[in-house]
């Protein structure tokens, strides 16, 4: 199988925290070639991270106790940087997720982040707590991280056994876009 990585992606993610969405984590857990390509892309350049909620989602796909051991070893690999589990940060993430859900719901085209799950909202909320442009997310479902808030840095495309292409976008939160959307939301809520 072939993996195609967009040019300059390594430059865009260098010295950044790279959060894995559960679909991408599942994919590299099942495909050693994709894992190898991904490791070559990030090793010594960026910090791949697994949010506790993503780990929770990932561990739910276990088939047997034997596999649970393998999954645990996989997420504890040195390639992944530990994520802060501080309760104080979690409260901030929760507030951010709540605001994002309101922004998505009230966005003008009515489709932004429509399908974002609770875990997606919390992951986006975590990205917000980092300095501008420092954190990004890699996901197979870019609609969960809509363009009204996020910018695309690059794409990883996997050529599958059945000849289909599966793409994963690398996105980062754009603070200017967020501030515009937040102001719009405040206006909308205060006008009623």
């Amino acid at each position: 199988m072939t993996t195609i990585i967009s040019p300059d992606l390594q430059k865009h993610i260098t010295s950044k925290y790279l959060f894995l969405d559960s679909d991408f984590l599942n994919e590299i857990y099942k495909d050693e070639d994709l894992f190898s390509q991904f490791t070559s892309l990030v090793y010594g350049f960026s910090y791949p991270m697994i949010d506790p909620l993503i780990e929770f989602e990932f561990s739910r796909s276990v088939t047997s106790p034997k596999e649970a051991v393998k999954m645990d070893k996989f997420v504890k690999s040195e390639i992944f940087t530990p994520v802060s589990r501080n309760q104080e940060i979690f409260v901030k993430i929760q507030d951010n997720a709540f605001i994002l859900s309101k922004i998505y719901a009230l966005h003008s085209n009515g489709d932004a982040g429509k399908h974002a799950s609770l875990v997606d909202l919390f992951l986006a909320g975590r990205l917000m707590t980092y300095s501008s442009g420092v954190a990004c997310v890699i996901t197979g479902n870019t609609r969960d991280y809509p363009g009204c808030i996020f910018d695309v840095l690059g794409v990883i495309t996997k050529y599958q056994k059945d000849s289909r292409l599966q793409s994963f976008g690398i996105l980062t939160l754009n603070q200017d876009k967020f501030r515009d959307e937040y102001q719009r939301l405040e206006k909308a809520l205060n006008s009623n």
Binding site: T14, S15, K16, Y17, Y29, K30, D31, E32, F35, S36, T39, S40, Y43, G44, F45, S46, Y47, T63, S64, K66, E67, K70, M71, K73, F74, S77, E78, I79, T81, K92, I93, D95, N96, F98, I99, K102, M128, T129, Y130, S131, S132, G133, V134, A135, Q175, F178, Y182, L185, E186, L189, N190, N192
Partner: protein, 59 residues
């Protein structure tokens, strides 16, 4: 009316900070080798599980 005005986003700094490049104890080749073993063995476990005969649950 919601209590929305009291809810403020927690945004990181506007200016981007420069993180140092990560340093790892294990080499890239070693990580790939170890993780490939885990991925392959996990696949075997899933295949064994899928092919094993399990009783049908009748409700």
């Amino acid at each position: 009316m919601t209590n929305f005005p009291n809810l403020k986003p927690y945004l990181g700094r506007k200016t981007s900070i420069k993180l140092p490049k990560p340093v790892m104890k294990k080499s890239k080749a070693q990580i790939i080798k170890e993780m490939t073993e885990i991925i392959v063995s996990a696949r075997k476990i899933r295949e064994e599980y899928a092919s094993s005969a399990r009783p049908n649950i009748v409700v």
